[in-house]
Amino acid sequence: MSLNLLYALAGVALCGIGLAGFLLLNHLLRRLLAFNLLGSGVFLVLVGLAQHGDGPDPVPQALVLTGIVVAIAATALAIVLIRRYFHLTGRTSLDTGNNAGDGGGES
């Protein structure tokens, strides 16, 4: 087993942790962090899996750079939305039970 493959398998483990966190956590910030963890796992798989044979392959590295910028943009957008949501409602999760006026168009 090569070192690169080890990176890819570490990426798989990160994906598992990230996915579990994403599905199980309710707190919006934690869920966002889980998304970032999942993203890092995917990037590790992408880079680790692709390095076979002679020398490093620059294409997946460039892809991951692009992917990171997209993930940063998505994270920034999510934080902006979460901050404003918290500012308006004081809530840190999307679960509202049966609170009136909070479902999609139910006010």
């Binding site: 890819a8 994906c15 994403f22 919006l28 869920r31 998304f35 999942l38 993203g39 995917v42 798989v45 992408l46 899996l49 692709a50 392959d57 294409v59 997946p60 892809l63 692009t66 992917g67 997209v70 943009a73 998505a74 957008l77 999510a78 939305l81 979460i82 404003r84 949501y85 308006l88 409602t89 999307l94 509202t96 006026g101 909070d102 479902g103 999609g104 168009g105 139910e106 006010s107």
Partner: protein, 491 residues
């Protein structure tokens, strides 16, 4: 000639996004009218160019795939580019009048609108797995931005839900891309198609991941929970864009993957499973649409149901005879087009009705039939297409799917097609019934401008007329596929 058209097609939405960010809403509206006219003209010209000369690959930056990114310009792609131009222009024109120009945040509507358009074109033309991911993210983020615009708590909640679902779907897709790249060392879908021999387990996992991610982004039952809040709470022109076009983008990628790789990586249970989920979406979505107390929720759940039909593509094209598969593909293509037109018309008409009665509740529609018969008529016409009655595009689509089901011996999908039509009739007539109720003291309706009423009518008429011109549309679709397949892909 086509070279210039492609450059114009890619450049205009991005340039208009940048320019309109510098302007206010009103100036942005003037600018966007010009942009929509250009996009419409370029899309039409490209459509005719492909009809004449067949499809081709366009190497961006002069670098051919797999080193660079090539765009696949074929009949299906240009048809959807044209569809995007039509629905996008209608929504843009409607939004220019519908949205409140005095609100400071509305200036951001135009840049987001144009970025969304650029992403959609990127998906229709995409032939590179990673580029499709970036285009999908461009669509998701601008769509979420449009839903959240204005920043009310309920809208933010819906936007966050939408964002999380979209991000999870994209990452699942990207993980599949990583596996494909690890195995083949290329991102070009055409090259992968050539190199792929048999169903390796690793690649089956990759395809499953990608399909699951894309199904989440398309809001396939049971992953649909994010859609109704987002489409219900957004401004009506935005809802029309989201329901008409945005959810089709992820489905389009899933369909392209399935048509290229499904014969080797798919399995009967996967194909039937996707079909069953689609069927469940048709029944469950229609039933929930019938139960909703709010007008736009009815339309949004109707989208969940109509998306279900699209997933019949999987069972109807797997391990069946070539002519049957072609019938199914044509039926699904028509379903995508007719649903995009009809649903955009429905949301825009619903927006007019809401503007008029100043309430989103179905019950509040009582008496509106006297005051806004035109919008109500557009709503109904679009509904006729969703029900699948002749001569609409919805009917032509279902007729083709029906034939494909019978020809492949999968009669059970016929039940779904018929039941779905009946349920669609039920929720459309419920709106009609509510609006024809007589109430005595209802003279305080607001009258929206004529132009707002005309736009959904035009879209609904297009959906209606699609059934009459289905034959020529489909012939254009089928022709360039073969031309492209025969061409050598890369040097």
């Amino acid at each position: 000639m086509s070279q210039w058209l492609i450059a114009g097609l890619l450049f205009t939405p991005l340039a208009w996004a940048a320019l309109s960010l510098l302007l206010g809403f009103r100036q942005g509206r003037w600018l966007s009218w010009l942009g929509m006219a250009i996009q419409m003209a370029v899309s039409l010209a490209l459509w005719f160019a492909v009809m004449e000369g067949g499809g081709f690959y366009y190497a961006l930056g002069g670098w051919n795939a797999p080193l660079g990114i090539a765009l696949r310009v074929d009949g299906l792609a240009v048809t959807f580019v044209l569809l995007t131009a039509a629905v996008g222009t209608a929504c843009g024109l409607h939004a220019g009048v519908y949205l409140d120009a005095d609100k400071p945040w509305q200036r951001y509507f135009w840049p987001l609108f144009w970025f969304l358009w650029a992403g959609l074109n990127g998906v229709w033309l995409g032939a590179d797995l990673f580029n499709l991911y970036v285009s999908l993210e461009l669509i998701s983020l601008s769509a979420v931005g449009l839903v959240a615009l204005g920043g009310e708590a309920a809208a933010l909640r819906a936007a966050l839900r939408y964002l999380f679902a979209a991000l999870l779907g994209s990452l699942a897709y990207l993980l599949g891309v990583a596996l494909f790249y690890g195995r083949f060392g290329t991102l070009s879908l055409a090259v992968i198609d050539q190199l792929l021999v048999g169903g390796e387990p690793a690649l089956i996992v990759a395809l499953l991941l990608m399909l699951a991610g894309l199904a989440l982004k398309t809001a396939l039952f049971p992953l649909h929970a994010w859609l109704p809040p987002a489409h219900g709470i957004a401004r009506s022109p935005v809802s029309a864009l989201l329901s008409g076009l945005v959810i089709k983008a992820s489905f389009y990628i899933a369909a392209r993957l399935w048509m290229e790789l499904g014969d080797r990586l798919g399995s009967p249970w996967l194909a039937q499973g996707m079909g069953v989920l689609g069927a469940a979406a048709v029944i469950w979505g229609s039933w929930l649409a019938f139960c909703q107390p709010h007008l736009k929720q009815v339309v949004a759940y109707s989208s969940v149901a109509q998306i279900g039909y699209l997933f019949l593509l999987f069972p109807l094209t797997f391990a069946v005879a070539e002519p049957v598969s072609l019938l199914a593909q044509q039926g699904i293509t028509l379903q995508v087009i007719s649903h995009a037109l009809a649903k955009a018309a429905m949301f825009l008409a619903a927006g007019n009705l809401i503007l008029s009665v100043r309430s989103n509740r179905v019950k509040a529609l009582a008496g509106v039939s006297h005051f806004l018969p035109f919008s109500l008529f557009s709503f109904g016409l679009a509904g006729v297409s969703l029900m699948g009655l002749p001569p609409t595009g919805g009917f032509a689509a279902k007729w083709l799917l029906l034939q494909a089901s019978l020809a492949s011996g999968q009669w059970w999908w016929v039940v779904v097609l018929l039941l779905g039509g009946v349920l669609a009739a039920a929720y459309v007539f419920r709106i009609y019934r509510a609006s024809f109720l007589e109430v005595s003291n209802s003279d305080d309706f607001y009258h929206p401008p004529q132009s707002l009423e005309a736009i959904p009518m035009i879209l609904a008429l297009l959906a209606l007329g699609l059934g009459l011109v289905a034959e020529p549309v489909l012939s254009v679709l089928a022709l360039p596929f073969e031309v492209v397949a025969a061409e050598a892909v890369h040097p």
